[in-house]
């Protein structure tokens, strides 16, 4: 019931939620990341490491399934050029228990931030800039360590 997609195309959270709702659990949690259009951002460009990305995200999903009793996990991460308001990432989890679904969802998005081989470049009208990793993101991911 676990599925990972790394894709350029947009996705439909409704379709993903419906599949998770049908997995027989009592709770479905989701997180959708959206490109913020702040500071005059024109577009975000996401580069990734194709040979590594899928395997790495699947490892993160397996770790989540190991730690929480999940009935389904769905991760979608986009790459390429994305404009403000566009979806970047989706994490959905289904479990018999709400806490498991919510915690696993938070864990997955924290780990994607600091362990999935993606890099973001911001395009403004007059310049481009690589997004710097945030120390807090790394700390967040570390905080899940057992």
């Amino acid at each position: 019931m676990n599925r990972v997609s790394i894709q350029a195309e947009d996705f439909d959270p409704a379709v993903e939620l419906a599949a998770l709702e049908a997995s027989g659990g009592g709770g479905v949690a989701s997180f959708t990341g959206i490109v913020r259009g702040e500071g005059g951002l024109v577009a975000l460009e996401l580069e990734h490491y194709p040979a590594m990305t899928m395997a790495q995200v699947e490892r993160i999903v397996a770790e989540a399934s190991d730690r929480w009793p999940l009935l389904g996990v769905r991760v979608i991460h986009r790459f390429g050029r994305l404009e403000p308001g566009e979806r970047i990432v989706f994490v959905g989890t289904a479990s018999r228990h709400r806490t498991a679904a919510l915690e696993a969802c938070a864990f997955l998005i924290d780990w994607l931030k600091s362990r999935a081989p993606f890099w973001k470049k911001e395009h403004f009208a007059d310049r481009t800039e690589w997004v710097e990793a945030r120390v807090e993101d790394d700390a967040k991911a570390e905080s899940w360590k057992r």
Partner: protein, 86 residues
Amino acid sequence: MADLTLVYFAWVREAIGRDEERVERPAADATVATLIAALAARGGGYAEAFARPDRLRAALDQHFVPMDSPIGDAKELAIFPPVTGG
């Protein structure tokens, strides 16, 4: 023994001006860090990309590794900035 493929991402790739290259396999005791130092010594974009090793991360055969990891018989070494996905 086969060559080693180097792959670069984000501003490392941009500074070096290529996303991939093959190099001669380094000595048996070489680590990621010693290879990066050797590459930096090439000057130009390499010196720029590898000026601050603390800002770099690496993966051997698609697994994150610390900078002091021996390269061993890995086929691919990726060098890149800290990731910013999610």
